[in-house]
């Protein structure tokens, strides 16, 4: 059930109402049952997969912790990670690699029959796989002790607000919250409601309207591509994906807070970044920090000289791109970011030692925003050819008459979002009015909800990150 549909809120209301009448153990059982119901609602066929991999990881972790043999511990870790990645690899990447291999062999003159399997991607597999791997590695490294309660571990993996599209929760952050009793805190509850309202605003009001423009630009509806189409498509998609994903994250975090859980912040005004490195400290923070801690650092990080640091940056972002989807466009998107990070490091662009004036800060924001938009073109385009063809429009300077009304529409929906980000950044708030009076917060909440009622689309445009 999508987070912007009434059925989700009916489900949430039912679970929250029952939850606070129960004690700790009952709460966990209710949340686990609710989470499996939530997942089964998406696709019941994959319940057994999630349950099976959860049980396997639970047992592997206990073995890692209890075993005194270093080789057995390493073997258990390897088997667990291997099993998780095998599932992910099969369901998400089998057809991609088979297709790519077929294309390569065909281009080399080999006749190979292509077998494409009808493989359906289990919802959320990319997210809960990474969460499970983080748990196994943390248990292995001794950062956390393994869970002795299967229900608590299963809830940590499957808790429905983060199950389908994150934020990827760190075991040392979420598991203790599962294991400890939660108490009803009015501030946390009201903040949760506000996060849900801001999330709905970002998704239904901003993202869904920008999506119309982006889809029209990328699909060719606006006619032959020109510089205006490219600008519209890239800018519109930039605001669409930001509104969509930050909106989803807010709803996920807000939903969790209604149960007394705190999820990590996933976005911090990313389009105000002054460098690519700054961008990745603000965008999809749960993923970027996961990649840093479980991929970049184990690869060596910046500990083995500059050349290897550049390699590690590039590889980490490359894999990060591939994680998003089984398509070379995602790989190129990741590669671009990896290359830019390496270049930034080489030229020391992101040095904290230098203080910049306002003009230079905004100039850097402008440049970084456009670099990010350029990369988004590859993220959005269905194929490399389509991306190249789309960007080819930059050489055509004739702007069609459709450009102006659409640019105005994009401005109407992106400027408020940009303004909200500026204010939240200045006030260091997770959502605007977090630190304001009750009256202001309630009025703001009413405005957000009313805007959602006015602008929500006819058919629910799926959250982009649900496809990962």
């Amino acid at each position: 059930m999508f987070f912007d549909t009434p059925i989700y809120f009916i489900f949430l209301l039912a679970i929250v109402s029952a939850y606070w009448t129960l004690r700790h153990r009952g709460q966990n059982i209710l949340l686990l049952a609710g989470s499996y119901f939530f997942y089964g609602w998406w696709d019941w066929r994959f319940l057994a997969l999630m349950a099976g991999s959860t049980l396997a990881d639970f047992l592997f972790a206990k073995h890692i912790s209890s075993s005194t043999s270093a080789s057995k511990r390493k073997l258990a870790l390897g088997l667990s990670i291997g099993l998780n990645l095998a599932f992910l690899g099969y369901f998400k990447y089998f057809n991609f690699f088979a297709d790519s291999l077929h294309t390569l062999l065909s281009s080399l003159g080999f006749e190979v029959s292509q077998r494409v399997l009808e493989i359906i991607l289990p919802p959320g597999i990319s997210f809960y796989t990474f969460q499970a791997i983080a748990y196994m590695v943390d248990v292995y490294s001794g950062r956390i002790r393994p869970s002795n309660n299967l229900i608590e571990y299963a809830l940590f993996i499957s808790f429905f607000p983060h199950l389908i599209a994150g934020p990827i929760q760190r075991p040392d952050h979420l598991l203790p919250q599962v294991e400890q009793p939660r108490r009803l805190d009015a501030t946390q509850f009201s903040n949760g409601l506000m996060l849900i309202l801001t999330g709905l605003f970002r998704k239904c009001v901003i993202a869904d309207q920008c999506a119309l423009i982006a889809n029209a630009a990328f699909s060719g509806t606006l006619g032959p591509t020109n510089i205006g189409t490219v600008a519209l498509g890239a800018y519109a998609f930039a605001w669409q994906i930001y509104g969509d994903f930050s909106g989803y994250s807010n709803i996920a975090r807000g939903s969790a807070q209604l149960f007394g859980f705190h999820f990590m912040v996933n976005f911090k005004q990313p389009y105000l970044s002054t460098s690519i490195r700054d961008f990745w400290r603000r965008w999809h923070i749960s993923l970027s920090s996961w990649l840093r801690d479980y991929l970049y650092v184990p690869l060596g990080g910046n500990r083995h000289g500059e050349q290897k640091t550049y390699r590690n940056l590039f590889l980490t972002m490359l894999i990060g791109g591939l994680w998003h989807g089984a398509n070379w466009t995602f790989v190129l998107w990741g590669a671009l970011h990896g290359a830019w990070l390496a270049v930034e490091r080489f030229f020391d662009f992101d040095s904290d030692r230098v203080q910049h004036g306002i003009a230079k800060q905004w100039f850097k924001r402008f440049i970084i925003f456009h670099l990010v938009c350029l990369a988004w073109v590859f993220f959005r385009a269905p194929t490399m050819g389509a991306a190249a063809s789309f960007l080819g429009g930059l050489t055509t300077w004739n702007i069609s008459e459709n450009f102006y009304p659409l640019f105005l529409m994009l401005s109407v929906f992106s400027i408020p979002m940009f303004g909200l980000d500026l204010l939240e950044n200045r006030r260091s708030e997770e959502f605007l009015t977090e630190k304001s009076s009750t009256v202001i917060q309630v009025v703001f909440g009413a405005v957000l909800l009313f805007a959602v009622v006015l602008f929500s689309a006819n058919s629910s445009a799926a959250f982009i990150y649900f496809q990962f």
Partner: protein, 309 residues
């Protein structure tokens, strides 16, 4: 003290959410028909359709369909051609197809509407497709149970099916497209120009030489005929005017007639001129509607006289 404030803030937010939703529901039910000309028309036509009761002295013909009906049929011309004692009404909802109208006609008949004749106008593609207008149809046309059935027949996911049920109950949810349309016109400059840009093409027609397509058409006409027969209402199928009669239009019409829904009688072979259609070559212009209605009216009159003598 701090916890007191937090509790009051929480309570105030919850009350605010409930009040906002309540105001939205009230506004959707009573204000949107005033702000939206389309919604105003649909609301009026729906009530007129629901309240149709025929008698021997006042025979009623109800024509239902989508924008094709609205563009091509001039009701005053049709009524002028009607036999004595006959009156024609229409009920138009844009962007609808067969499933919308099968369950829509069912909903009308179950709510007490009793025309003598129910006429359905759809293009051959709209007859075969599983597309639904979604929550808008659920609100205006379907019963609660049919909202679920329509979603299942359209191949909807459970989330979408639950949305249909909620759209049936809630005006604010059911009329979201119209609400957004009204809001966009007030907030976004050139909203109508933009709406036309986003409209997109019609897509290609189904292959009517394919026996599967013909079977779908047969099954649908049979089910529609059975539904109307249950309420002693005669049903006819009106093929919309096309620049030239196509094979699929002929096929749809013949299948309808073969399954008890007269249609061939309303298929006019005389070609239309370019000016009879709008730029999309799908919807008729005012000129075309005048020409088409001038043919359809007498054709309806002759058929009605023959059927009800």
């Amino acid at each position: 003290m701090k916890s007191h404030i937090s509790f009051h803030r929480c309570l105030a937010l919850l009350v605010c959410i409930v009040l906002t939703l309540g105001v939205s529901e009230f506004s959707a039910r009573y204000l949107i028909p005033r702000f939206s000309s389309i919604e105003g028309r649909v609301a009026v036509e729906r009530e007129q359709a629901r309240s149709i009761h025929s008698s021997l002295q006042h025979r009623q013909l109800l024509i239902v369909g989508n924008s094709l009906l609205e563009a091509s049929v001039q009701l005053t011309s049709i009524n002028a051609a009607m036999p004595p004692g006959w009156h024609a009404k229409r009920f138009v909802i844009e962007n609808t197809a067969f499933l919308d109208w099968y369950f829509g006609i069912k909903g009308l008949l179950e709510s007490g509407a009793r025309p003598d004749v129910m006429a359905l106008m759809l293009s051959p593609k709209q007859l075969i497709t599983n597309n639904l207008r979604g929550t808008y149809s659920a609100y205006h046309l379907f019963s609660a149970a049919d909202s679920l059935r329509a979603g299942l027949m359209a191949g909807y996911h459970p989330t979408e099916i639950s949305g249909l049920l909620i759209g049936h109950i809630s005006a604010a949810y059911g009329l979201r497209t119209e609400i957004r349309s009204v809001a966009m016109q007030r907030v976004v400059p050139n909203a109508e120009v933009i709406a036309n840009i986003f409209k997109g093409g019609r897509g290609s027609e189904f292959d009517w030489a394919d026996s599967n397509i013909r079977h779908i058409a047969e099954a649908r006409f049979e089910s529609l005929q059975a539904l109307c027969k249950q309420y002693q209402v005669q049903c006819i199928f009106l093929p919309p005017a096309e620049p030239e009669i196509t094979d699929h239009a002929l096929a749809a019409s013949h299948i309808a007639t073969a399954h008890g829904l007269e249609s061939d009688h309303f298929l006019f072979s005389e070609p239309y001129s370019t000016g009879d259609f709008q730029a999309d070559r799908f919807h008729m212009s005012q000129q075309g509607a005048k020409a088409y209605s001038a043919k359809l009216g007498p054709a309806l009159a002759s058929w009605l006289t023959h059927q009800f003598q």
